[in-house]
């Protein structure tokens, strides 16, 4: 263990400097000479022992005497023998019950006090059975006991500190058990005796040579600055290796921060953000995307229907007529259409938006040419919620409109996403299928960590979609599956974790 002498606590420093080579040191001696309390003393010993500076030398049992409640009252009011003697001396002879009554002590205590003094011929009984003083002064035993009582009020009395005579007296007025009836209680304590180790000696020299005293300043205070007292002392060095306390900062949600990063990336690539309501009509959610109303293409995703309001009041024209005509016979888009009767009631049916492409379609009527748009929007799917399916989740979608955009610019766009958003160098394009794009392309990338996976789907909007919504130029449509990258970024493998309500988990989470 590497120990820096500057990192020792002032309590440790003082103990080390106090103890000389070969000295035996105990808690009691530290308390007496350094003014520590017992807590500080024990702390310093345990630290120093752990560091290997002190070693236990031996243990010794020491005897102490502690005033009992009775002893305290004697110390204050006097011993019964002392009091009877003084009473009789001052007021002349009186019967024992009379004396006990005046002193407010029991006749038993009064009797034993008389017996003790009578034996030493200090008190006697006259003819009328009255207690009479036979001597001028109290005997030495009583005076000594009195002194011990006084001393006891100051704290524990160690047996070793008493003279032989005092010890003899103390034994008479103390008890180990059932001590309530005696003035003193006898205590026996195990005391550990420490000595400096060789390592400790080395550090003592180190302390001395560095002039560390344990009186160095802790905190720099305002007062020190005001008075300039900081100039006269050293500051104590801190242990920089102590683990710091935890801090709980205000902070972004890491998943949201990731989505923000993607948004910023797309903005930097010239994309304008779109957004929209959570509740959509079947018109925008499927019909405008040329998904036939009752065709299996709508099996691709099952939607949540809104109970109330079940239908929108109306669908904006001329888009309703145009989309309906495109479904029925192709309208003027060059298509033959799906060839069925478009249901204008069903198209007003309200659903929870099930795909981000809805907002791409909704942007077409107001889109500039040329332009690029994107959105990271919440979608809802009728799915069993599990590690790979959420009840609601984000989709990242967008479009690029321009007279001169085509399949190759779509591939270029996908390559740019692969490089800029996913950090991939290798890109593979394969034909895909989406009801609203033709041609349709899936882009697979070799992610630095995840390996090959499908980054997204894309295509060129079918003219049935774009023309019906008022756009005559090609529209590149794309969607990126960024949740997989987000999970990897956050070190997670369960989509449900992205929306966890657990505060501690969110606090600890961080991006890679």
């Amino acid at each position: 263990m590497d120990i820096d002498v500057r990192n020792l606590h002032p309590l440790e420093v003082k103990v080390l400097l106090h103890i000389g080579p070969g000295d035996e040191i105990t808690a009691q001696s530290v308390i007496e000479s350094l003014g520590f309390n017992i807590g500080q003393c024990n702390q310093a010993f345990s630290w120093l022992e752990a560091k290997g500076f002190l070693a236990e030398h031996s243990r010794k049992t020491r005897t102490y005497y502690e005033l009992t409640e009775l002893g305290s009252s004697y110390a204050e009011a006097g011993l019964p023998a002392e009091r009877i003697f003084t009473l009789v001396r001052n007021q002349g002879p009186m019967t024992l019950p009379e004396a006990a009554g005046q002193l407010g002590i029991s006749s038993k205590d009064a009797g034993s006090a008389y017996g003790q003094l009578a034996k030493m011929r200090v008190l006697g009984m006259d003819d009328e059975k009255r207690v009479t003083a036979l001597s001028e002064s109290l005997p030495d035993e009583v005076r000594t006991a009195r002194d011990l009582l006084n001393k006891g009020t100051e704290g524990l009395i160690e047996e070793a500190s008493l003279g032989e005579h005092e010890r003899w007296i103390m034994h008479a007025i103390s008890k180990k058990r059932g001590a309530a009836a005696a003035p003193f209680r006898t205590l026996e304590r195990d005391e550990v005796i420490y000595t400096l180790t060789d390592l400790g000696k080395k550090f003592v020299q180190e302390l001395v040579s560095r002039e560390i005293t344990g009186d160095e300043y802790g905190e720099l205070t305002q007062e020190m600055l005001a008075k300039g007292t900081w100039k006269h002392q050293q500051f104590r060095s801190y242990n920089v290796h102590i683990p710091p306390a935890r801090i709980i900062p205000g902070r972004r949600n890491p998943y949201n921060a990731y989505l923000t990063w993607v948004k910023d990336k797309l903005v930097s690539l010239g994309f304008e953000e779109f957004d929209g309501p959570l509740v959509e009509t079947e018109f925008w959610n499927g019909d405008a995307l040329f998904m036939p109303q009752f065709h299996s293409a709508r099996d691709i995703h099952d939607v949540y229907y809104v109970k109330n309001p079940s239908h929108a009041a109306y669908i904006d024209q001329p888009y309703l007529d145009q989309v309906a005509a495109a479904h029925e016979h192709g309208w003027t888009t060059g298509s033959r259409g799906w060839g069925y009767a478009f249901d204008r009631n069903f198209t007003r049916r309200q659903v929870l938006r099930s795909q981000g492409t809805v907002l791409s379609a909704k942007t077409l009527p107001i889109a500039k040419v040329p332009s690029k748009y994107f959105g990271i929007v919440r979608c809802f799917r009728y799915d069993q919620v599990d590690a790979t399916h959420g009840a609601d989740f984000y989709q990242t979608e967008g479009i690029v409109l321009g007279e001169k955009v085509n399949l190759r610019t779509l591939l270029g766009l996908l390559k740019m996403f692969a490089e800029e958003v996913a950090g991939a160098q290798e890109v593979k394009y394969v034909p895909g299928y989406f009801p609203f794009t033709e041609p349709s392309i899936e882009v697979h990338i070799k992610h630095p960590k995840l390996g090959w996976f499908e980054l997204g789907g894309s295509g060129i909007f079918r003219p049935e979609v774009s023309k019906s919504l008022g756009v005559d130029v090609p529209v590149l449509a794309w969607g990126l599956g960024i949740d997989r990258m987000a999970l990897m970024h956050l070190g997670l493998n369960d989509l449900r974790e992205l929306f966890t309500p657990d505060i501690e988990r969110v606090r600890l989470r961080r991006g890679k």
Binding site: P277, V306, G334, P370, K404, L407, M416, P463, I503
Partner: protein, 564 residues
């Protein structure tokens, strides 16, 4: 999207070569298909087909046809299709149709095959094809149902009739006793699964031969005798019933081409309708109804961004199994009998793209400049977020769907204005949130072990029914925050709102409010420019108790769109 199982051995034999997995995966992209898994022991490949407009690919035969064409093998011509101009003789092979079927399940198409004994792989693939076509393309048999029979047992003409459900009975497949049609619906698994398609009809569709021998009760189940095709049968009769004639003819074409590829001889069958159809009253199946499709080379080159020659385009189409010719700048294609997905010239262009090969198109960046931009709402919410984080708040993100228990009952609010899902998957995801506050309280309820104080917020959407909007709903961007710690309450939140709105440069005033979510006298509305922009206060202990929360909480919710 349909998944099919293909016997690897058959696939590779027909393709004429064995492929590694990655070679197969790469080849499958020509059919928009993916290798979804393998059963090594049984030698089965599991393949997912992504194009819902190409039901012809949902069988081993169809997939092989596409892939071998792509590998350069010549595509076979099918010579058994009648057209509006040329009609094959069918002899005795006739199906008659009952006029009473017009309003229920009006159409039937049929053909027969012979010339080869049915073997195990053919039977398995035929059953698989039938299932996929009727389930995905036939919308779970409601639009298309298909039956295959032992032709030897049938005496023509076959009769497609509307039968009295109680007076008509037969022994269905996998049963040993005669049931009437109502009993079939009630007592057989298929009847229970598909009975809803016919249950409301007064008479049920039913197929017998000339002698009254039962073929089937479409779209539910075949008869146990004629309808039980087995390995070794030499001649088969195949019929499809449904509601859309074109889709039925198209599906019959797919099955006929598959069986022809497998070595069977196709024998046409004439259907005689008592009512008009778009192809007349007499129809011989298989029937080719597609019109030629065309696309200009200019459009091909423009959409693909590549200067393809007409020959290159034709070669590409040929690899996709599509014959075409070039004339005066346009490509004219004969749509294959088994396909019906050329709705628009762009559909031809996609086939040219795939046939030409994806690798041959060089990616190119769009060369025009457009300014990038966030929505005003996003920019404003970022400002608000920054201030909240500065005040020590942790950003949270929540699901927008939740339960009545969390959004309504625990909050002690009425259900008015909530957007409810009509078909919830579970009661846990039945309502769209109208406020973020329940989400925050849910966090608090599950986070009593997290070190306090808790300061959390979310900026997200909430939606509610709104009669003033044409859509009937409104979606708003809200900011909500919650503080849970000893000794904090109304005053701390009031200070934070003051700080927030100061730095967002919005003037505001406060108004007393009574709201069941808050302790009376300790809640206020935030008024901005004369409108209520938010509410805050100390959460009512009854609400906390409802959530099982043991720490006092104060919350605030603000409509950011209104501040914008």
């Amino acid at each position: 999207m349909p998944k099919i199982e293909v016997v690897a051995e058959n696939l590779y034999r027909t393709l004429g070569k064995r492929l590694t997995d990655s070679e197969l995966e790469s080849l499958l992209t020509a059919a928009k298909a993916e290798l979804d898994g393998k059963d090594e022991e049984a030698g089965i490949l599991k393949i997912e087909l992504n194009d819902t407009n190409r039901p012809d690919l949902w069988s081993t035969a169809g997939l092989v046809r596409q892939l071998s064409g792509y590998l350069g093998r010549d595509v076979r011509c099918y010579d058994f299709f009648s057209t509006s101009e040329e009609v094959f003789e069918t002899g005795e092979r006739v199906v008659t149709v009952d006029p009473d079927l017009l309003d229920t399940r009006p159409y039937i198409v049929a053909f027969a095959v012979s010339g080869k004994a049915v073997d195990e792989p053919t039977l398995m693939d035929l059953i698989q094809t039938q299932e996929k076509l009727c389930w995905n393309y036939g919308r779970k048999r409601s639009a298309i149902a298909m039956g295959v029979y032992r032709s030897d047992l049938i005496t023509y003409p076959v009769r497609y009739v509307a039968a009295d459900p109680l007076k008509t009975s037969f022994i269905p497949l996998q049963s040993d006793r005669e049931l009437n049609l109502v009993e079939v619906l009630d007592q057989t698994p298929k009847g229970q699964e598909f009975g809803h398609i016919v249950r409301d009809f007064t008479k049920y569709p039913f197929i017998t031969d000339d002698n009254g021998k039962v073929l089937s009760f479409p779209p539910i189940i075949n008869s146990a005798e004629v309808g039980a095709v087995q390995v070794g049968d030499n001649r088969l009769f195949i019929e499809l019933t449904g509601t859309e004639l074109k889709a039925l003819i198209h599906t019959a074409s797919i099955v006929a081409c598959d069986l022809a590829d497998d070595g069977f001889t196709i024998e046409p069958v004439k259907i005689i309708y008592p009512y008009d159809t778009e192809f007349g009253r007499e129809l011989v199946i298989p029937y080719y109804f597609q019109s030629p499709a065309a696309v200009s080379m200019k459009d091909v080159c423009k959409l693909l961004g590549a200067a393809l020659s007409p020959d290159e385009a034709l070669a590409a189409l040929r690899r996709m199994g599509v014959f075409g010719l070039h004339d005066s700048g346009s490509i004219y294609v004969t749509v294959p009998e088994y396909r019906n997905d050329f709705l628009h010239p762009v559909d031809i262009i996609e086939d040219i793209m795939i046939g030409h090969g994806m690798d041959r198109f060089e990616p190119e960046m769009p060369d025009f400049f457009t300014p990038g931009r966030l929505t005003a709402e996003e920019e404003f919410s970022r400002k608000a977020k920054e201030i909240m984080i500065g005040m020590g708040y942790q950003e949270m993100m929540y699901n927008y769907l939740g339960s009545a228990r969390d959004f309504i009952h625990r909050m002690m609010v009425s259900s008015e204005g909530f957007i409810q899902v009509e078909n919830p998957m579970s009661e846990n995801y039945e309502y769209v949130r109208k406020s973020i506050i329940p989400s925050l309280l849910q966090s608090e309820a599950v986070s009593s072990n997290a070190v306090y104080p808790h300061r959390i917020f979310e900026i997200g959407k909430a939606a509610y029914a709104d009669g003033s909007e044409p859509s009937g709903t409104s979606t708003k961007n809200y900011l909500a925050f919650l503080q849970a710690e000893r000794g904090s309450g109304f005053n701390q939140i009031a200070s934070q709102i003051s700080g927030l709105l100061y730095y967002l440069s919005r003037e505001y005033s406060l108004k007393d409010v009574q709201d069941s979510r808050f302790i009376p006298g300790r809640a206020a509305e935030v008024i901005c420019a004369g409108k209520t922009a938010g509410i805050f206060g100390e959460v009512h202990p009854q609400v906390l108790e409802n959530w099982g929360i043991q720490m006092p909480c104060s919350v605030c919710e603000i409509d950011l769109d209104l501040l914008l």
